[in-house]
Structures are given as structure tokens and as C-alpha cells.
């Protein structure tokens, strides 16, 4: 029973579409009616939707906030929900502790958004150390890399871009190896960005093709590592590599490529040996946790009652869905 | 073409080619046509006459499928027709030269002529450019148009030539009925003669021609029958040879109009108000024109099409870029770099192309009227006063005798002549000391012309000066004090309007061609 309004940051997001599928099913099974709303990646749109939903008198707000990291915005949302006494579940895109704790009927289901990048960085570092010289194609002792950023201004993208390299460097330097080197020294930003902010496969593919036109094995300046903010961009890079005869499995030169999300495509790529690894976020588990918490809130029970014990509840405000490295089943 | 003319001449020779019966048409607020009949015989030129807004163009548009008539019947060759689109009209042998030039200016001459019926290469879905070119040359040769290259882009040609292209296009359809809606309003005498030759040829071929014009001389010269309309109603149809100019005017206007031009009862002062020296244009062939304009003088500018008369006015008024040349207003040098500056210096200008540079089609009469004098209506320099604007507009409607349902009517809903009057009124409101007029009476009916001449004379009598470019020689001779003749972008000479003759002017006009 009860009506929930679910606010998605962007309905075309691939990972969230699987969360949505699971969540819709979970709500159905719990008898909660729901409406999915699309913020279209614009915070103001979402904020207005939430205000309107509150005015329409819904029972529960489930929010996948657009702008992570700006407390002012999430605080506004919490304040309006609180004023109308409507319970609130944030999920997936992170919210700060203070904000969530300012309302006793609010909680957050998700991960720490910085973790994905950190974990990816760790995975990259360890992967390289396993056989450093093999990946150092030109034998100069340094691994040159390219980083694909999904969106210039997105906080998650910023964090993944930052930690994806920093954490790898930390592991490498601890092992006495030099830090990673961006393939193009002229590039001060040290990443290539999808200008449209869509984290898209096609953009990474176009970039990578362009890079491979200049950086080749013959020139001894080949790019030796690809780190992408998500699997889509990683796959785009792989497709460009494959077109030039790399990363085609056994017998071809394979440059390690890393992504985040563990999409079906990425898993298949990893299984075929085209891709090195990715970070998995458990969509089904997240959906299940959201549905459980939601039902509890609507019925006025304790929020975390009956939650799957795989998920830890951190300091009473956050249900942590763990990330996991994925390098093949 | 041969076969076509034969079929027209076959059948009952005397049967009427086109019969329109009881045509009615209303627009919001206006009954433009009220039960109007029109019968056109084979092999005749039928003139359609009436004041501005009488409904002539509307009647023709109902025939041509541009407007849907409310009531009435149309019979073509004895068969009832009701064209839903221009396409249908053209396919059934009705062609039309429209009152307002309506062409794809960015396309070439031949693209315009064959628009809607491009010839194809046999067996292929492709257009045959060569056939288009040859057919165009063929048409031009037949009509003796020898100065137009079919591949020229329309927008680069002077209005007169574009009008000739439009005429050639209408004729190239080999239609049974050809409508000419004020074809000569932008033609000079030379082209008019040419057009008449063409029309006579068409008449001999058995076509029925409907000819609309406000130029009386033309009507009496070319037409066999005349139908007269007034206020959307049919007045009379008579053989042309039984009519005189005054009779026609009387039927049109409903009252006697004895003089075509108002009497001149003042003298030009000696004082030079404007001196133009060595005026040369940057982007056109206007070359080293110098002249003086006296206070209270009406100065005519004559010349053939392309003589550079429009360019002269445009350079003076700051629409076109000058290459060199100086101007003095009352002895003080002025520059007129933009129309705004020119207006501030007391100039006003009615341009040649009403549709392109005159009217604001989508705006109403009031907005169209006050735009050039807008500052006048500010209260304390801040906000516009509706009352003041309405008052001025009312004055203009009244003074120009503009036929309109209200001040808030959109100007594009007015007849062509009435649009011209609105523009005239717009400039009168700026109270100019020097009024530049480029074909100001184009498309204006006789009655209204007289009123406009009167306004021009009144201005002159009050000491303001007027420069008037016109292709109507009688008009120049009738109202001007002095006439400049231009030829090939240069000044070919200057004549006294009272003592000169049309021949003298024509000789000068040909000096540099």
C-alpha cells in the first residue's frame, strides 16, 4: 500500500535502468504503487518535480539526486519533505551525512561515490604490478595511460578521474615503480572528456581512434593503459583498439582497459579477454534495499527492519551497497 | 505552341472564353467582392479598372485558385471550373502576372521560369538544364527580350527586368487566359511598348487577356473592353472605343475628375536647399552625379530602367554606401550615413519596392504609420502615448483616403495601392523638408494620385522640396518644375518641365546606354 514517487537523475543511464527494472518489480511485489520521474540530468527539473510531488501529497519520496556533493540542494529537498512530513529515501547518487541526519525519516541507500574511483585505481595498480614489464610496451619503465572522463562537471566523474589515477599511483610508487604518465604531455588536464556529458561509448571511440593515429607501437609511444569513468567509454576505447588490430584476444597485443559499472557488455569483454576489469555495483541488491526501506517507512516501522544482512547500515543513516572489483567470473 | 493556338481558335468562334458569375468573397471585416461578373472574349484584351481596394486583385486571385470564392461560378471554355490551387489553374490554361513581384530571388532566371514544371531528361528522373536553357532562350527570342541571361540570379537584376521575366514566365505557359495585374507599375516606357507588342501578339493568337492597370493611357491604347468595379461591386462593362478617360474615371470614382494634375499656384524660390556634388556609389554604377535642389522645388528624375535613379536616391538617403560625393543642406555639409541620420536632417524617402523595403506586413496600420516619426509620440521622452499615435494614424488614413476597416488591420490585408498610401502617410508625418520619392504613385488609382500630387504640391508651396523618380513621363511633366535625366548611372542632362517634350527626355535617357 502507499504511493511512492521515484526521481531518477537520468532515465537514459544504463546502470540505473537495471536498478529501475529491479526496483519496479520489488515495489510491485510489496504492493507499493510508484511513479518514475526523469530529471533529465538537470537538478532544477528534479527539484521542481519533488516540490510538485510534495504538493500532490505522495506517501514517499525516493530520490536519485542529480547533483551530488552540493549540500545546499539536498538540504532543500530534505527541508521540503520534512515540512510536509513525507519520508525520504535517497539512493545511488551520494548525499552527505549531515543532510540525511537532519530528518529522522530520511535515509540513503548506496555507496560512497568516491569508492568506485578509488577501487578502480587500486585495481589498476595491482593489475599492472602483476606483470609490469609486459604492460610497459616501449620498455621505458613508465606506463603511459589515457583517461576518459564522462562529464566535465559531474562530481562522480571528477572523483573517478582523480582517484582512478591517484590510487593506482599510490600502489605503484609503494612498489618502487614510477607513477603513471598521461600519454600526451601537452595535455594539462590529463583526461579527455565527453563534451556532451553523456559518458558515451562513441565519444571514447572517436578519441581513441584519433589517439591511435598518432601513438603507435612503431613510434614507441603507444598508449599502454586505458582508464575510463564507466564501461561504456572503456568499451568505446576497446572498439577503437580492435579496429587497429589490438585487444582481439589470444595472439594480439592487448592493452589493459578498465571501466566501472560491470555492464553485461563489459562482462562479456572481460570474459573474452578484451578488457581488464571493472567495478561492480549491485543493481538488484540496491533495488531490494530501497524497496525494503521504503515499505518500512510507509508503514511507519523501523526503517532498517528486515534488511538483507549483506548490507551494512552505517551510523544509522546509510545502507551501504558494496562495490566489488570484477575481473571475470 | 502552334497546336495550342489552333485549339483556341477552333470551336465556336464567338463563344466567350471566360465567364465569371456572381463572385463574392469576404475577409474578416470586409466584403471584398459582392456578386461580381466578368466575361472575357477570345482574342481580346479586357481591362479591369477600379480604385485601390475595389477588389480587382481579389477577383483574379479567386480565379487563379489563391483565394477560395465564397459564392459564384466560373466557366472556362464553357466548362465550369473551380481551381483549388494555382497548379490547377495553370494546368487548365490560366496564367497570371501577380501584382506584387513574387519570385525565388536566390534562384536563376530559368529556374524561376520553369518552376513547378521542370523539363526532365528522357527516361531519367533528372531535370534537363540544357533544355531549360534552350527553352528559355526560345521564349525570350519570341518575346524579343534580348538583354537577360537565363542563368542570372534573380536578386541581382533590376526590378524592371525581373518584371519582364515574370511576364515571360506567364506567357510561356501558353495559356488561354492570361491575367496581368498591374504589369507596368515597375516598367519604363521602353519596356511598356515591348509588353504591348507582346500582348497584341497574344491577342492575335486568340488568348483572352485580363489587364489591370491604373495608367489610363495604357487602358485606352491596349484594351478592347473595359470592366469597371467600385467597392467590391460591378459597375459596368463597355467597349473601350466607346469610352473616354474622363468617363472611366467617373465610373471608377463615382464623381467627375476634371484635371489629372492639380494646378500649380506658387513659385519656386531661388534659395538652394540641397546641393549634391559628384555622388558616386560604392556598389553600383551610379557615377558622379551633381545637382542642386531649390526650396519649394519639385524635381523629377527620368531615365530608363537601370539608369541608376533608385541608386541616386538611395545614396542620398543613406541606404546605399557612397564611394565619394558631398552634400550640403542649406549650405551646411551633411553626410547621411544612414537613413536615421537622413531623417534627422529632414529627409524622407518612399522606396521603390514596397514589399521588400516598405511595409511591415505583419504589423497593423498604426504601427506602420508611426514608425518613422515614433519619437514624436513620447510623453516626457519616456513612454509612448497611444492617443497621440492613434490621432496621427487617423490623420493619415483620412488625408491619404486609405480604405481600411480599422487602424488595427494588418497592412498586408490592404490592397496594394492602399499599402502605398500608408507608407506615404508614414513619411508625411515626419514633416520632411526634402522628400525623396521613388515611383511614389506606383499602383495608385487616379483619384488617389491626384490627392498625392496635391500633397506634394502643398509641401512645395510651404517651401519644402521634393525629388521624384518616376517612369511615367506624363506624371513628371505634369507636376515637376525641373527634370533631371539619367542614363547609365550618369546624369545625362537637365530639362525644364514646362518647355521640354517626351522626345527630348527619351533622347537624353539613351545617351549613355
Amino acid at each position: 500500500e502507499g504511493n511512492a514517487q521515484v526521481f531518477w537523475y537520468n532515465m537514459s543511464d544504463v546502470y540505473l535502468s537495471s536498478v529501475r527494472e529491479y526496483l519496479n518489480a520489488a515495489f510491485d511485489s510489496k504492493g507499493i504503487s510508484y511513479t518514475d520521474q526523469d530529471g533529465g540530468a538537470v537538478q532544477a527539473t528534479q527539484t521542481d518535480q519533488i516540490t510538485t510531488a510534495i504538493a500532490s501529497g505522495t506517501d514517499l519520496l525516493v530520490v536519485n539526486i542529480v547533483e551530488t556533493g552540493a549540500d545546499g540542494i539536498s538540504q532543500n529537498v530534505v527541508d521540503s519533505a520534512k515540512a510536509a512530513d513525507i519520508p525520504l529515501v535517497f539512493f545511488n547518487r551520494s548525499i552527505s551525512k549531515e543532510v540525511v541526519q537532519s530528518y529522522d525519516k530520511a535515509t540513503f541507500v548506496g555507496t560512497n561515490y568516491e569508492d568506485a574511483g578509488k577501487m578502480e585505481g587500486d585495481m589498476v595498480g595491482n593489475y599492472l604490478l602483476a606483470d609490469y614489464d609486459k604492460y610497459d610496451l616501449n620498455g621505458d619503465g613508465v606506463i603511459s595511460y589515457v583517461m576518459f572522463k564522462g562529464d566535465e562537471a559531474n562530481q562522480e566523474a571528477i572523483a573517478r578521474t582523480k582517484y582512478g589515477v591517484e590510487n593506482a599511483d599510490a600502489i605503484l610508487t609503494a612498489a618502487g615503480k614510477p607513477a603513471l604518465k598521461f600519454y600526451d604531455e601537452a595535455n594539462a588536464a590529463k583526461y579527455l572528456v565527453d563534451q556532451a556529458g553523456t559518458w558515451s561509448r562513441q565519444v571514447a571511440q572517436d578519441y581513441m581512434t584519433t589517439i591511435l593515429a598518432e601513438y603507435t607501437v612503431d613510434n614507441k609511444n603507444m598508449v599502454e593503459l586505458v582508464i575510463a569513468n564507466n564501461d561504456e567509454m572503456a568499451i568505446g576505447a576497446i572498439q577503437a583498439l580492435q579496429a587497429m588490430g589490438f585487444n582481439n584476444g589470444e595472439g594480439t597485443l592487448t592493452i589493459p582497459v578498465f571501466g566501472v559499472d560491470a555492464t553485461d557488455d563489459a562482462k562479456a569483454m572481460i570474459a573474452d579477454g578484451f578488457m581488464a576489469g571493472t567495478i561492480k555495483q549491485d543493481a538488484e541488491g540496491m533495488a531490494e534495499a530501497i524497496a525494503t526501506v521504503s515499505a518500512n517507512l510507509i508503514e511507519g516501522k523501523d526503517m532498517y527492519e528486515g534488511l538483507n544482512e549483506n548490507f551494512t547500515v552505517e551510523e544509522g543513516w546509510k545502507v551501504v551497497i558494496p562495490y566489488a572489483e570484477y575481473t571475470g567470473e | 505552341m502552334e497546336a495550342q493556338s489552333n485549339t483556341i481558335n477552333n470551336g465556336a468562334v464567338n463563344r466567350d472564353l471566360l465567364i465569371m458569375e456572381g463572385i463574392s468573397k469576404s475577409f474578416p471585416g470586409v466584403k471584398a467582392l459582392d456578386n461580381v461578373p466578368l466575361t472575357v472574349k477570345r482574342g481580346t484584351v479586357h481591362a479591369l479598372m477600379g480604385e485601390n481596394g475595389a477588389g480587382k486583385s481579389t477577383l483574379m486571385k479567386c480565379l487563379f485558385g489563391i483565394y477560395k470564392k465564397d459564392e459564384g461560378h466560373i466557366y472556362l471554355d464553357g466548362k465550369e471550373v473551380d481551381f483549388k490551387s494555382s497548379r490547377e489553374a495553370l494546368d487548365n490554361g490560366v496564367a497570371m502576372v501577380h501584382q506584387e513581384l513574387n519570385q525565388a530571388l536566390k534562384r536563376s532566371v530559368m529556374d524561376n521560369i520553369w518552376l513547378g514544371r521542370y523539363p526532365k531528361i528522357k527516361g531519367l528522373p533528372f531535370v534537363s538544364e540544357s533544355k531549360m536553357y534552350h527553352d528559355t532562350m526560345q521564349v525570350f527570342k519570341e518575346l524579343k527580350i534580348d538583354d537577360i541571361n537565363p542563368k542570372t540570379i534573380m536578386s541581382t537584376m533590376p526590378v524592371a527586368q525581373r518584371q519582364m521575366v515574370e511576364i515571360a514566365k506567364a506567357i510561356s505557359f501558353n495559356s488561354k487566359v492570361i491575367v496581368f495585374d498591374e504589369p507596368t507599375s515597375s516598367l519604363t516606357e521602353k519596356e511598356v511598348e515591348h509588353l504591348f507588342r507582346i500582348i497584341n501578339m497574344l491577342r492575335d493568337r486568340g488568348c483572352g487577356i485580363i489587364y489591370i492597370s491604373h495608367k489610363m493611357e495604357e487602358i485606352l491604347r491596349i484594351s478592347d473592353e473595359v470592366t469597371i468595379m467600385r467597392d467590391g461591386q460591378y459597375v459596368a462593362t463597355k467597349p473601350a472605343k466607346d469610352l473616354t478617360m474622363n468617363e472611366i474615371i467617373k465610373l471608377m470614382v463615382g464623381r467627375e475628375l476634371t484635371n489629372r494634375f492639380p494646378p500649380k499656384n506658387y513659385v519656386v524660390q531661388d534659395e538652394v536647399i540641397l546641393k549634391v556634388e559628384d555622388m558616386t556609389a560604392m556598389y553600383s554604377h551610379l557615377d558622379s552625379v551633381s545637382f542642386e535642389l531649390k526650396k519649394g522645388e519639385i524635381l523629377g528624375v527620368a531615365g530608363l530602367a537601370g539608369a541608376g535613379r533608385t541608386e541616386l536616391l538611395e545614396n542620398i538617403f543613406g541606404i546605399a554606401t557612397k564611394k565619394r560625393g558631398k552634400m550640403w543642406l542649406n549650405g551646411k555639409q551633411i553626410y547621411n550615413k544612414s537613413p536615421k541620420e537622413a531623417i534627422a536632417n529632414g529627409f524622407a524617402m518612399v522606396t521603390e519596392e514596397r514589399r521588400a523595403t516598405g511595409i511591415f506586413g505583419i504589423l497593423n496600420i498604426l504601427d506602420n504609420t508611426v514608425i518613422a516619426s515614433i519619437k514624436k509620440y513620447l510623453i516626457k521622452g519616456l513612454f509612448l502615448s497611444n492617443k497621440a499615435m492613434e490621432k496621427s494614424t487617423a490623420w493619415s488614413i483620412d488625408a491619404m483616403r486609405i480604405k481600411t476597416p480599422s487602424q488595427t488591420t494588418k497592412i498586408r490585408a490592404l490592397s496594394g495601392g492602399n499599402q502605398q498610401k500608408v507608407i506615404f502617410g508614414r513619411w508625411m508625418l515626419t514633416a520632411p523638408t526634402i522628400f525623396l520619392l521613388d515611383e511614389p504613385t506606383r499602383g495608385i488609382d487616379v483619384g488617389a494620385k491626384y490627392e498625392i500630387y496635391q500633397l506634394i504640391m502643398d509641401m512645395a508651396a510651404e517651401g519644402d522640396s521634393v525629388v521624384i523618380v518616376s517612369s511615367e513621363m506624363p506624371e513628371l511633366l505634369g507636376i515637376c518644375d525641373r527634370i533631371l535625366v539619367m542614363s547609365g548611372g550618369k546624369l545625362a542632362g537637365e530639362v525644364d518641365a514646362k518647355t521640354t517634350s517626351q522626345e527630348e527626355i527619351m533622347t537624353l535617357a539613351a545617351k549613355y546606354v
Partner: protein
């Protein structure tokens, strides 16, 4: 003149006129009358429908919500309407809103907040900030107008370029940092200040006032938007600039010949539009309590749609303030209504698109020259 012969005026006259028509004309008269009011009728039908399904729709809180949301979208639509009247468009609007929201936010960040963007310092006086932010918008508008007027480029391409440039500039200055922790002088005490409460109920008991129902607050920015609309109405209808704008939009060449400084008018329209985006940025920053990289993104599309729905035509020279207001309200009603009706995200796009299309098509009919 006797009393009887005096021509009737106002409604009485209209009724007489109507009676004088014959049956067919009467029908077409009613048809036209309805057509002229198509937008209002569509809005009313929509409201009635939603209301019948969800009675809460016309509760005070909901109405105030719709009005507030309309108020946030109105200025930008009024600004962009000018560009459309000049047969143009303005794609840079959203990014200008973003840039100015950022400027407003950094100038008005809390003084004691450790993560301040401008290290050390205090929030600036709010009216100075308004001026600065409006100036920021106006400057980008100036660039737009200048390029359109001087290089004769179509506004579509000019504003597409400045959209990119503005966003690039924003990213460069801000490093994509979110600016939050805004001073309350800006947010609570100014923009989102609650001016009065609708439906507030107070009981006096034993000489002590007690609030029974807090009511729905109406905030200052709603009033600011109304003032903005009134000012724009005067500019459009009562100034020479406004008249010139319509003239240029209707026929640029004719306007030039009539002594209008076309360049100045075009620049003026874009500057005014830019200023309205700057103002919107100011309000958005306060409303959201932050400035981020997506602030303002794609605002122009809804604004343009609202204008066109409200009868501002791309043909140029046509448009009314009241039309724009109705257009914005309709756009807002669509969005709000769908939330009330529980329509889900994907369907929302379809319905929004369809309503825009239908509303414009109906509205357009009154401008069509009849055959």
C-alpha cells in the same frame, strides 16, 4: 444628440453586432472567438481534468506551487521572446543562467564557510550582486547581439557558439566546483523570503496568538517576477525601443529605411534577454541554494516552447507579454499536472511533446491568413 441615437459601446454594442449576423456568420464568429482564446481554454480544460482526477490539484498549496514555478521560468521566457520576435532564437540562455548563478553564488557564499570559493571575505551586498549578475548576462547578450547584427549571422549559430563559450568560461573559472552554503541574506532573507501566507489561521486564546494552520507561504521571487513582467510589458508596448523591435522583426530592411537603428535594436534585444537570464541565474542560485554545472541547462528549450505556445511567432514581429505568460503557465501545468496524475517519466516526454505540438497548432490557426 439624443440619448437613443448615441452609439452603444462596449459589450452592449458587441451583442448588437452579434445579433446582426446571420446563422453561418454567427457560427464562424463564435468559432473565431473561441480560437482567439484557445490558449486559455486549453489551460482551463487541462486544469478541470486534472482537478477532477486529483482534487488536491486546486488546493492552495498546489496553486501556490504552480505560481512559484511559473515565476521562476517567466523572466527567461520573456527575454527569449524578444529574440524570437526578431525571427531569431537564443540557445545560450541556459548556460548564461548557469554562469550567472555561479557568479551570484560565489559572491554570496557564507562568510564563515571554510570551503569558500573566494577565500576569505564576506557576502557582498545583495543589490550590488544583482547588478553584477545582470551585467554578466547582459555582456554575453551583447556578444550575441553584436555578432547577429554586425556579422549578419543567424542567432541560432551565434548563440550555439556562445552557449559553448559561456559553458567553457564557466568551467574554467569554477573548475566545475559546486558552490553551496549561500548566505541567508541572499536565500531566506531575500529571494525565498516568505512574504505572506495564504490560508494561515491564527486563533487568539487568552490574549495569546496561536497559529492553527501555518498556511502556504508566497515568496518574494514571485513578486519580483510579476514586477519583471510589468516592466517588460512597458518596454514592449510603450517605448520606442519596443516598437522598433517589432518593426525590425517584421521587416528589417523596411525598418532600416524608416530610420530605425537596426543594429542597436538587435543588440538591445539580446542584451535585454541576457540581462533576464542573468536575473534568472540569481534567482536560481538562491532557490537551489547552490550553483552547479547543470544549473540552467536546457532552460532555453522550455522557454522557447512557452513563447511559441503563447503566440510569439518565428515569422517575426508577433508576440504579446500576456501570451508568453500563458505559455509559461501552460508548460508548467503540463509538468505539474503529470506529476499529479502519476504519469511516469517516459510517458511524460511523449505527453509534453504532444501538448506543445497541439497547443501550437491550435494557436497558430488564428494567425493563418484564410484562403
Amino acid at each position: 444628440m439624443s440619448e437613443i441615437n448615441k452609439p452603444k459601446k462596449g459589450i452592449a454594442k458587441k451583442i448588437d453586432d452579434f445579433k446582426a449576423l446571420n446563422g453561418k456568420d454567427k457560427a464562424s464568429f463564435i468559432g473565431n472567438w473561441l480560437l482567439d482564446r484557445a490558449m486559455i481554454i486549453i489551460i482551463l480544460l487541462l486544469v478541470l481534468y486534472i482537478q477532477s482526477v486529483k482534487p488536491a490539484f486546486l488546493a492552495t498549496a498546489s496553486i501556490v506551487n504552480i505560481i512559484s514555478l511559473t515565476a521562476t521560468r517567466l523572466p527567461i521566457a520573456l527575454g527569449i521572446a524578444g529574440a524570437i520576435i526578431l525571427t531569431g532564437t537564443d540557445l545560450s540562455a541556459g548556460r548564461i543562467v548557469g554562469l550567472s548563478a555561479f557568479v551570484a553564488a560565489i559572491l554570496l557564499q557564507k562568510g564563515d564557510f571554510a570551503g569558500r570559493f573566494l577565500k576569505d571575505g564576506n557576502p557582498w551586498p545583495i543589490f550590488v550582486v544583482i547588478l553584477i549578475v545582470v551585467a554578466v548576462g547582459a555582456i554575453v547578450g551583447l556578444v550575441n547581439g553584436f555578432c547577429v547584427a554586425k556579422f549578419k549571422l543567424h542567432p541560432f549559430i551565434v548563440t550555439l557558439s556562445t552557449q559553448l563559450i559561456t559553458y567553457g568560461a564557466y568551467l574554467t573559472i569554477s573548475s566545475a566546483k559546486q558552490i553551496s552554503q549561500l548566505d541567508t541574506s541572499f536565500t531566506e532573507n531575500f529571494v525565498t523570503k516568505k512574504i505572506f501566507y495564504i490560508g494561515k489561521q491564527v486563533a487568539v486564546k487568552d490574549g495569546v496568538e496561536k497559529v492553527i494552520n501555518p498556511g502556504t507561504p508566497v515568496m518574494l521571487y514571485v513578486f519580483l517576477a510579476v514586477i519583471f513582467a510589468v516592466v517588460m510589458w512597458f518596454i514592449w508596448n510603450k517605448t520606442t525601443f519596443g516598437k522598433n523591435m517589432f518593426a525590425v522583426g517584421s521587416n528589417e530592411e523596411a525598418a532600416r529605411v524608416s530610420g530605425v537603428n537596426v543594429t542597436l535594436v538587435i543588440i538591445g534585444v539580446f542584451v535585454l534577454a541576457g540581462a533576464s537570464y542573468g536575473y534568472t541565474g540569481f534567482i536560481e542560485a538562491a532557490r537551489q541554494g547552490a550553483s552547479t554545472g547543470t544549473t540552467g541547462l536546457n532552460y532555453e528549450l522550455d522557454a522557447i516552447a512557452a513563447c511559441v505556445i503563447g503566440g510569439v511567432s518565428f515569422v517575426g514581429g508577433i508576440g504579446k507579454i500576456s501570451g508568453v505568460v500563458l505559455g509559461v503557465i501552460l508548460m508548467q501545468l503540463i509538468m505539474t499536472g503529470m506529476t499529479f496524475l502519476g504519469i511516469s517519466g517516459n510517458t511524460t516526454y511523449i505527453i509534453k511533446g504532444a501538448v506543445i505540438l497541439i497547443a501550437c497548432a491550435i494557436d497558430m490557426r488564428k494567425y493563418l491568413a484564410k484562403k
